[in-house]
């Protein structure tokens, strides 16, 4: 009888504890970025993955009108790891490809591949995860595209969740 009670108690405990545990896990969940489309190796990018790359900084003004130092990884470096046709392969038909960046709020912007390639431009476009030495604010991050010297901030897309490479139709 006692044993049954014990089992019942344990069962009850585990029933109540499991949802609590999984809730805690859910809260810990981190955003990632899916890289897909015209790539030879689709990627899922997280904080650990980005640490493997050389970090680059870009200074640009935000809406507050002040200069901020963003640091992160050059986007074309990430795309090369996914097997996107950059560098020597970025010619002919491949010049009709673009990168579509999507944010968690559904906002989308595009870049022509040539805008991202060092052979075409020195302007750096990075996937930033830090601003002024600190992680991006929750409303901006964890990942944000920063376009060096671009006058309007509209393509400095926040809360990035996906990067897709496509051919124009």
């Amino acid at each position: 009888m006692k044993k049954q009670l014990l089992i019942a108690c344990i069962a009850l405990l585990s029933f109540t504890a499991i949802p609590l545990l999984s809730q805690a896990q859910a809260a810990e969940k981190q955003a990632t970025i899916k890289v897909s489309g015209e790539v030879s190796a689709p990627l899922t990018i997280d904080a650990a993955y980005l640490q493997k790359f050389t970090q680059t900084t870009v200074i640009r003004k935000d809406r507050d009108g002040k200069d901020h130092t963003y640091s992160g990884v050059i986007v074309s470096e990430i795309l090369k790891n996914a097997g996107v046709t950059l560098g020597p392969e970025l010619k002919g038909e491949n010049l009709t490809k673009y990168l579509l960046v999507e944010a968690s709020d559904g906002y989308q912007v595009i870049f022509a591949l040539a805008e991202l390639d060092k052979g075409y431009t020195d302007r750096a476009i990075i996937l930033a995860d830090q601003v002024d030495g600190k992680p991006l604010a929750p409303g901006d991050g964890p990942y944000r595209i920063i376009v060096q010297d671009e006058k309007k901030p509209a393509r400095c897309i926040k809360q990035v969740t996906a990067m897709q490479i496509h051919f124009i139709k």
Binding site: K29, A31, D105, G106
Partner: protein, 381 residues
């Protein structure tokens, strides 16, 4: 939902347009009832819309829009027999006179259990890519499967629906006309419904007329439009409500998903229920404001009964949380203010603009109405 329930608006309209029209409609519908495949126009359906809507329309390659497909889709949209108890159709929760909403906070399905969210307007879906309040369905075809099979909506498996429909004399010849043979499948049912939904285009509101210089707005409407479109900049003396940041563009729909400050701790976590990401908590689709005066109650849970309440919310009651949209944070018409702080007259002006988005042609277009209603009416009179 009583399938025979008429809405007074339609009735009034009919009386006004006179008996001749009524008889004509009856004649046409009766003849199509009798001859079916014979009287139905076939061929590609030309979707007509203003050029400022843009051509980013969504039609899957395997479901081109045809006249016969739209005809069948409309029959199925209003077909009660697609539900387990033959009592509910898509049209039960999506009434044309309310821009395809139902006037309720939550709707009842076949089992009389309430849906967990507010019914959504079906206008200009041709341009939408993600459906439902949380954007979980990727296309209209996929979307339709949910209400058809959900036990609290129509509650019937696609196979059961296909079988039932196959026994109704009118349908097999129609499926043959649309798909080349009379086999009826769940896939063919949802494809036809999606074709019909793509034709539900709302593009002749007073706002559209204004955009093509065919309507001169009143001073209040103009002021409301300006407030709707401007971001507040108190230091420069510019007053605004910044609505267009999320609801902007000629379609008043940009396919965005935000937390608009309804709750600090939302009962319904919205997109976070799918992603478990803290940033998605309380995030929902930014719905179209087309025909907004007709689609009360408002928000995913129908919590606001009037547009006055909606404006009070945006002006004075935005609730803080980690996932609150940054577009609503620190936006104010007072220097250093934490909420919009619109004046009572400004709220009225914004509502005057929102009323410009009502499209009478859309809610009275006979091509969108219940094709079964006319025949059931005949029986009654």
């Amino acid at each position: 939902m009583n399938p025979l329930k008429h809405n007074p608006f339609l009735n009034r309209q009919k009386l006004k347009s006179g008996r001749v029209m009524f008889l004509l409609v009856v004649f046409v519908s009766l003849s199509s009832w009798c001859y079916l495949a014979v009287g139905i126009e076939t061929g590609a359906y030309v979707l007509v819309y203003p050029s400022n809507f843009g051509n980013r329309i969504q039609i899957p390659a395997n479901n081109p829009t045809t006249k016969q497909g739209v005809y069948l889709g409309r029959m199925l949209f209003y077909e009660n027999r697609l539900s387990a108890a033959n009592t509910v159709s898509c049209g039960s929760c999506h009434h044309q006179d309310k821009a395809f909403t139902d006037g309720l906070a939550f709707s009842k399905g076949v089992d009389n259990v309430l849906t967990s969210r507010n019914s959504m307007s079906l206008a200009n879906l041709l341009w939408a890519r993600k459906f439902f309040w949380d954007g979980r369905a990727d296309g209209l075809e996929e979307q339709a499967i949910t209400p058809l099979t959900n036990p609290h909506e129509m509650g019937q498996s696609l196979d059961a629906s296909a079988q039932k429909i196959g026994k109704i004399a009118a349908y097999p010849p129609l499926f043959k006309l649309v798909y080349g043979d009379s086999s009826i499948t769940g896939d063919r049912i949802v494809k036809a419904i999606a074709q019909f939904e793509r034709t539900l285009i709302s593009a002749n509101s007073r706002y559209d007329q204004y955009l093509r210089s065919a309507y001169q707005p009143t001073p209040d409407e103009l002021k409301g439009m300006e407030l709707f479109n401007n971001a507040p900049q108190p230091e420069k003396g510019i007053r605004g409500a910044n609505c267009s940041h999320c609801h902007g563009g000629v379609k008043t729909y940009m396919e965005l998903f935000h937390n608009n400050g309804l709750d600090s701790i939302p009962k319904d976590a919205g997109i976070a229920e799918l992603t478990s990401l803290p940033a998605d908590r309380g995030r929902f689709k930014v719905p179209t404001l087309r025909n907004i005066a007709l689609t009360a109650p408002y928000m995913h849970d129908g919590r606001f009964k009037t547009l006055d309440q909606v404006l009070d919310h945006y002006s004075d009651h935005i609730l803080e949380s980690a996932s609150l949209s940054s577009f609503l944070r620190g936006e104010s018409n007072e220097p250093g203010g934490t909420s919009l702080k619109l004046q009572p007259l400004e709220k009225k002006q914004i509502i005057a603009f929102l009323n410009m988005l009502t499209d009478q042609d859309f809610i009275h277009n006979p091509d969108f109405a219940d094709p079964h209603l006319l025949t059931s009416k005949n029986k009654k009179y």
